[in-house]
């Protein structure tokens, strides 16, 4: 069974739709949606409805910090661009959509897989896994063989051996990586709706449950359309620009 790992969609309908289509063609039957469905982008309602539809079909979905902020209607500790988007998004969602976001779990455990937005050691604290140290902290905090999380927008793969040594790896797109069963793995698929590694193409990853292989993917999508949607919403131009640049 192939599972699509999709994170940090950030109200980018064009990117999300392109990724879902790409995943369907790759034979994906299940989705794990790793939070931050909203914020930054111009199409929050469409994205939330799509997420809700997938959850009804059995998808996993967890809460992200932008989702939590949108539910509250404001966030004092976010940067201005993000804060403006949160406030705008709150007004754009109806009660049902906000309620759906409010009820998202912080993390989901399925067999040997943990799905969480930021990390395993303090899911609601939203600390970033910026490198090996935080990755080790997260891997030590769970018994799960596989942790799938988002929050960081760059694709990354960490692993912890039986001898306690952690390694990190920047994946290449489209290569099947066998997640050897002898160690613990933490995979960050990268952001679907706001990639930041200089490549504007949407990020996601496919995990094959049978072969235990993980492949990171990049999907070209209508970046111009997504930028236009941000402008039409009256959100800061910088948010449109960073999609075009992928940063």
């Amino acid at each position: 069974m192939k599972i699509a790992l999709i994170s940090d969609i950030h109200s980018n309908a064009q990117a999300f739709a392109a990724v879902l289509e790409h995943a369907a063609q790759a034979g994906v039957v299940r989705h794990a949606l790793l939070g931050d469905f909203v914020g930054y982008g111009g199409d929050p309602a469409w994205v939330v409805d799509k997420v809700r539809e997938l959850v009804e079909q059995g998808a996993v979905a967890v809460m992200g910090n932008h989702d939590a902020a949108v539910v509250q209607g404001s966030s004092t500790h976010m940067r201005e661009d993000a804060r403006l988007a949160v406030e705008w998004t709150h007004q754009r969602l109806d009660a049902g959509q906000l309620d759906f976001l409010a009820r998202l779990p912080m993390s989901v455990q399925r067999e040997d897989q943990l799905f969480v937005h930021a990390n395993a050691f303090d899911p609601a604290g939203y600390e970033y896994i910026q490198g090996r140290l935080e990755a080790m902290r997260s891997l030590h905090a769970t018994e799960s063989r596989y942790t799938f999380c988002g929050h960081m927008h760059e694709p990354m793969l960490y692993h912890l051996s039986g001898t306690g040594k952690a390694g990190e790896f920047t994946p290449a797109a489209g290569v099947a990586i066998p997640l050897m069963p002898n160690r613990q793995w933490l995979a960050i698929p990268g952001s679907c709706g706001q990639p930041r590694d200089g490549n504007p193409a949407a990020c996601y990853a496919i995990f094959d449950r049978e072969s235990c292989e993980l492949s990171f993917q990049r999907v070209a999508y209508d970046v111009e359309g997504a930028a236009q949607s941000i402008r039409a919403a009256g959100l800061p131009e910088r948010l449109a620009q960073r999609l075009l640049q992928g940063e």
Binding site: H159, S161, T163, K165, G167, P178, M180, P181, N182, E210
Partner: protein
């Protein structure tokens, strides 16, 4: 891969040690072939034969010493991870791998053939055999490097030869794949590799440079030809680091009968800095196959290893030397292409030769690691003997070589091609197109650049050489035409 959730029988740990007759995931253990320090090798058969699997199978089982041995476990994990990603005749065919929760193993093709290890005890070997081994191993390495993998433990016991002579590389426990996580990177605080063969950068923990394998192959060629190890058999990290500043005794100082070109090739492999070595295995294979094309430098003349002063200098520079951060394996291979210029100095017009030269110069210029092989074909009759000397008794072969070098001089001057990056080859063949295609294939050329014959009666009559090369060659081909307005 056998999954822990696959069936009720597979979740139970194995009762006791492996014995002949036992069945593991459908493979019956027949006989233990080899008992090694790191792994045991079993001959196995499938209970239910699989279509297309018409080769004998072996199962490699890690030998875990005292329960937890990181070197064995991680090395085996690396091999389990890499082997399914490898393809082609230069690696054993991968069949299956087994989970660590029950019994870790790898089932693969049993390579029918001989290991190179026993020949090492016979060294020094005849030069022809050493060169032949070098060509075959370099060809295998080029194939591996093109698959984004550095072997990092090239030595005679990890090289086998199939009955048809193809080299097969085995044991990927220390290898590194560009597109897969390096499980070994963080695991150990000691350099990883086999002492006598380890490259200087491996001693300094760099694990992603394909040129490390060329260093190891250089050590092997040195040993096979002279019977001695260029850097001894060090057992300490300090001993390993000596190769950063001690130059090996030149092969010809051990055996004066070895030709200078061979010394040039071996010492070229053994350069301390990877950027001073051959830039790809294909370039090394090319030199071994075309000794007359090897450009001799100071390396060929060396009569002794390091002097006291030069050693001190090299030692001083090695102190703070950190290897520059390396590009990826595939980039290194891609950045070191062999460009082949096929030049018809006899028949092409001056304008076409000029245009061809300018095109070649531009292509080579954009590839800092590129090597340029200039080739011309001397047409010989299909039947009967040719007149290979002109009326003044000069060899036509030599004349053509001179013309070729003359053609290339502006390129070598403007790009300062040093260190054997420019070679010349005059091929004698009845059919130029076939000769060009075969040369390119044999030497792993990445790009052929050649001129198109104008619309002449000759072309209508004989057909176009470039058309045949374009359609039949496996690499990129650029066909250069005369600038418009020059007729032809």
């Amino acid at each position: 891969m056998s999954s822990t959730a696959a069936g009720p029988h597979s979740v139970l740990p194995l009762p006791g040690p492996l014995e002949p007759g036992m069945v593991l995931d459908g493979f019956r253990l027949e006989q233990r072939l080899h008992q090694g320090g790191m792994a045991h090798i079993w001959h196995v058969t499938r209970l239910e034969p699989k279509a297309g699997e018409d080769f004998p199978l072996i199962m490699k089982v890690p030998r875990i010493k005292g329960g937890e041995d990181p070197a064995t476990i991680v090395g085996f994990e690396v091999e389990q991870m890499l082997m399914p990603a490898l393809k082609g005749p230069h690696v054993p065919r991968f069949v299956a791998r087994g989970d660590w929760t029950r019994q870790a193993y790898i089932v693969m093709e049993q390579v029918q053939g001989q290991s190179l290890r026993p020949r090492l005890d016979e060294a020094p070997l005849p030069l022809d055999e050493v060169v032949d081994i070098g060509i075959r191993v370099a060809t295998a390495l080029q194939d591996l490097h093109r698959q984004h993998v550095v072997h990092l433990d090239i030595k005679p016991s990890n090289i086998m030869f199939r009955p048809d002579g193809l080299a097969v590389l085995v044991d990927f426990g220390l290898s590194r794949h560009d597109h897969l996580p390096d499980l070994l990177e963080e695991e150990f605080s000691l350099p990883m590799g086999t002492g006598p063969y380890m490259s200087p950068e491996q001693v300094q923990f760099v694990r992603n440079d394909p040129r490390s394998d060329l260093f190891a192959l250089g050590v092997m060629l040195y040993h096979l030809a002279t019977g001695e190890r260029p850097f001894g058999q060090p057992s300490s990290v300090r001993g390993l680091r000596r190769r950063l500043y001690i130059e090996p005794v030149p092969p010809r100082a051990i055996d004066a009968a070895l030709p200078p070109w061979f010394q040039e090739v071996v010492l070229h492999c053994l350069e301390v800095k990877p950027e001073r070595r051959y830039q790809s295995a294909a370039q090394l294979a090319l030199d071994l196959q075309q000794p007359e094309g090897v450009v001799l430098t100071r390396r060929a003349d060396k009569t002794s290893g390091s002097s006291g002063l030069s050693t001190l200098k090299r030692w001083f520079f090695a102190l703070g030397a950190e290897p520059a951060s390396q590009a990826t394996v595939s980039n290194q291979v891609a950045r070191s292409p062999i460009i082949m210029a096929a030049v018809d100095t006899e028949h092409a017009t001056a304008a076409l030769l000029e245009q061809l030269r300018e095109t070649v110069r531009r292509i080579v210029q954009t590839e800092p690691g590129a090597r340029l092989a200039c080739v011309s074909v001397m047409r010989t009759a299909r039947i009967g003997m040719d007149e290979l000397t002109d009326k003044d008794g000069k060899s036509l072969h030599v004349k053509q070589l001179i013309a070729l070098k003359h053609w290339a001089r502006p390129i070598s001057r403007s790009l300062a091609l040093e260190d054997g990056r420019l070679t010349f080859h005059v091929l004698e063949a009845p059919d130029p197109a076939t000769a060009i295609i075969e040369f390119a294939a044999k030497n792993g050329a990445d790009h052929i650049v050649m001129g198109a014959r104008g619309a002449s009666a000759l072309r209508r009559y004989l057909g176009s050489v470039s058309t045949q090369v374009v359609t039949q060659s496996e690499c990129t081909v650029t066909v250069v035409r005369e600038p418009a307005g020059n007729g032809g």
